[in-house]
Amino acid sequence: VDHVNARQVIRHVAGELTPDERARIDAHAAACADCRARIAQQQALHAALAGWTAEPPSVDLTAATLRRLDAGPATPVWRIRLAPAMRVAAAVVVGVGVGYAAGRWARAPGTADRVAPVVEATPPSYGLLSEPGVVGLWVTYDELTDPDEEDAS
């Protein structure tokens, strides 16, 4: 006996089966309590999900979009929203870079006697690139990861 698999159950409930497939599955489910139960569970979930009604706020996006169109090439909204954060990030990078360069200068031969105590008090901090000749903040971005990555590839 070929039981109904999970993919067929989903397609059945969503009305995506061909008439032949549907008839075959219905015939099997009529005689198989397990498959009947699985289809009923998916039907119940399908119906329950309709309970998430998302009522949008009443804003006139058409007018706003057409205004942006009239204004010519525009900065994407996300970039506008991120602008303050980007300014802060840039300030941090510059600050760390300057600090690092100053530290390297202080450690250079002939300068240790002048600023050695300061250098001793400020060891390389977390995230700072400390390779010779490289100045910057160590920031890595992992790409969006998902447990299903292998399934969707």
Binding site: L45, A48, L69, D70, A74, E143, D146, E149, D151
Partner: protein
Amino acid sequence: MAEPFPPDGDPNLRDAERMRRVADGDSAALGELMQTHQARVLQTAYRFLGSWDAAEDIVQETFLRVHRAAPAYRPSAAFTTWLYRLVVNLCWDQRRRTARERRLRLSLPGEQVVGESDATEQQERAAQIRNAVMALPDRQRLAVILHRFDGLSHRAIADATGWSVSAIESCLVRAYATLRKVLQGKDV
């Protein structure tokens, strides 16, 4: 001057005609496309991103791209298929940016969750479903939103996302199994 298109005509032909008018510089045609499709775009983006502000941004960016792409648009498939592809790409990009922002901030602002003590039973139910869907991994969430809430077929989801039908079915199987488990016994 474009001839008036019959309002009760084939929606795909009507949208193709509007796109032709947009390409000719008729911004009113873009307004008509927005009036027809923006609610769907808004809800899809909201359900995926969990924020009306972000969803509104997606709507605007989507239709600005529609405008830019109109001269090159060829109605080889339904307009909505092409539109969904734009929306999915923009949502995905936005999600990536949000993930990066979160890593930079090293803290995640609390999600707005409906379900205060004075919420109605219906609101509570909606909040439980929303939270369960929002907790799904991104790919699964997107697949469920397009499948259950937008009513797209597995093939149409594949066209919108660029994933294989098999991968989408795998996502849906896992997502629905998780939702069944999470929502079980919650009177949903």
